[in-house]
Amino acid sequence: MSQKLVLALPSKGRLMEQCADALARAGLTVSKSGAARGYKGEIAELPEVEVNFVSSSEIAHFLKVGTAHLGITGEDLVRESMRDCDQRVSFLKRCGFGHADVVVAVPMCWIDVAGMADLEEMSAIYRRRHGRPLRVATKYMNLTRRFFAQRGVTGYRIVPSLGATEGAPAADLAEIIVDITTTGATLRANGLKVLADGVILKSEANLIASKLAPWSAAADAAKAQILARLA
């Protein structure tokens, strides 16, 4: 086991570019290295750091189990992937990019539904009429369950959705969705509206530390340096 600090960074997409920019602005030069087909990297200024390029949801998993000491990924993915979030990770710093709200959205034509309380009452009527509960399409099963339980909404079923969730109501695959949105434009284009009290989480990319990673003195020192430079 190396004493190095393992930093997990997004391997693709806009989040990857934004991470690279943020680190460059902090004076940290990230480069890919080794034979591992671009999945490993290093930081020129910090030889004690080993970089792993993985997908955003894998970063959440790495932090959950302690395979990485630090990672940059969306708060939504971290909160979705672990129930006991506070025992496993600490959110060190908001990055100022990767903004996304996890929201509850319903068809705009439901003019009788404005908030979660309407949803609860409506769910009982829906069930009597249709003989089955309301369906909620989402990839955020855990966030949805926790939020709906807090708001006393019980008469629903989750339909797992791995992509194009906003199309589920129009395709009759679900009545409601829980998904991320930045401007709300995609939701509106699909005839959906966000419930007034339906914002589950205002998420953005965070620098996150795993409490379960094997923290060595060298890793601690490297973490302090990264934090100081990003500040």
Binding site: D118, E121, I125, R145, T154, E175, G191
Partner: protein, 390 residues
């Protein structure tokens, strides 16, 4: 953890055989419903909260299946497979594994794999006697297993339904209050709303449209809502029809014209929910509390059940009635009970059960079928017996 040693496994087996012997002697047929259940229907019935604790998986055909999180729904399905009409008298008993994800981890107090031994009695329309018989037999089984002193907790959702029925209010308000009964905060909020003329006249949605709807003319209201949606250019899609949307708006319009609940009514409902007393004394207390409100039929049923329990040798003087008991157990519709022993305390009842008259219909019966049942936490039972063994 279930039976971490062979010795413990054998002890659970032996105990199960004793429980089942008590049940079969009383005329309950021993059945063994499937452990693997179709996820879809099962989870539609138990709700998302239990679904979050159910092990769901996909088989090679792509069908969604689950490990049963309890045995009541599988027993209902077994009954319906035999008797599609549903309303056929039957009494079943079982002992088998059930599986639940435990958010706090797999511990001996909350194992993810545990055994339930229980009974279910279907289509017996002499409800109070059937309630009493199920509780009496459950007590007989745990006593024969060797349980000493115990305490009983009763609730009665039928009584609450009758209470709401005794006050003048629209049926939809009763439905709402019944629906919120499980959630104390939401229940109080709804009660406050129904007591406040301002709140009733200020719907949170489409206020101007609601103001134009006449509750006495639903056809015109539907046309009005259709017209409103068309003019607003909102795309119409999904499984919910305009008629359903109009119905809820119409209900809000009707609420605005409805006289609010009186403070007396709201107080009576709140006082009822707060009642907690020895079961016999509770009857007198409720009569006094309700004054001129006539609940005689429901209270007579309550007393009939107590008499039937006494006749069956269950001393009801050790039973406590709590009006609010029943929260958290959403498919129950009437009498509910828990058997509590001092060794485990209130948080971990030894056994529990109650009446669930709408579950068979939810699972596919064409009509509602009277149903009452109970189940014993066999690991807890064994733990208590081993602790108290000489």
């Amino acid at each position: 953890m279930t039976a971490e040693s062979a010795r413990r496994f054998e002890a659970l087996e032996a105990q199960a055989q004793r429980l089942l012997a008590t049940f079969t002697r009383a005329g309950y047929e021993h059945v063994a419903p499937a452990i693997i259940q179709p996820a879809d229907m099962f989870l539609d019935v138990v709700g998302e909260q239990l679904r979050a604790r159910t092990y769901v998986f996909t088989d090679p055909d792509g069908d969604e299946l689950c490990l049963r999180p309890d045995l009541t729904v599988p027993t209902c399905r077994l009954h319906l497979a035999r008797h599609p009409a549903g309303a056929v008298a039957a009494r079943y008993c079982y002992n088998g594994s059930a599986f639940r994800y435990q958010p706090g981890g797999d511990t001996s107090a909350h194992p993810r794999e545990f055994r339930q031994a229980g009974i279910e009695a279907f289509a017996d329309s002499a409800r109070e006697t059937a309630d009493a018989a199920v509780l009496a037999l459950t007590l007989e089984a745990v006593r024969e297993a060797g349980i000493g002193p115990f305490h009983l907790r009763f609730g009665d959702l039928g009584l609450f339904r009758a209470l709401l029925g005794a006050f003048a209010m629209p049926e939809r308000w009763r439905r709402r209050l019944q629906h919120q009964f499980w959630r104390p905060e939401a229940f109080r909020a709804e009660l406050n709303r129904l007591t406040s003329p301002e709140a009733l006249r200020a719907p949170a949605v489409a206020r101007e449209l609601i103001g134009r709807l006449d509750p006495d003319d639903p056809a015109a209201a539907l046309a009005e809502v259709e017209d409103y949606l068309e003019r607003s250019g909102v795309p119409m899609f999904g499984t919910r029809t305009v008629a359903e949307i109009a119905e809820r708006l119409l209900a809000a319009a009707a609420d605005a014209l409805e006289p609010p609940l009186t403070a007396d009514t709201a107080n009576a409902i709140e006082r009822y929910v707060a009642v907690k007393a020895p079961a016999r004394a509770a009857v007198g207390q409720l009569k006094q509390l309700l004054g001129s409100i006539d609940l005689s039929e429901a209270l007579a049923a309550f007393e009939r059940r107590l008499d039937a329990l006494d006749a069956a040798g269950v001393s009801t003087d050790r039973a406590e009635f709590a009006a609010e008991f029943g929260r958290n157990l959403e498919y129950y519709t009437g009498f509910v009970f828990e058997i509590v022993v001092p060794q485990l305390g209130r948080q971990s009842p030894l056994a529990g059960g109650g009446r669930y008259d709408s579950l068979l219909k939810d699972v596919g019966a064409p009509v509602e079928v009277p149903a009452v049942g109970s189940s014993i936490h066999t690991e807890r039972l064994l733990a208590v017996l081993e602790e108290t063994a000489p």
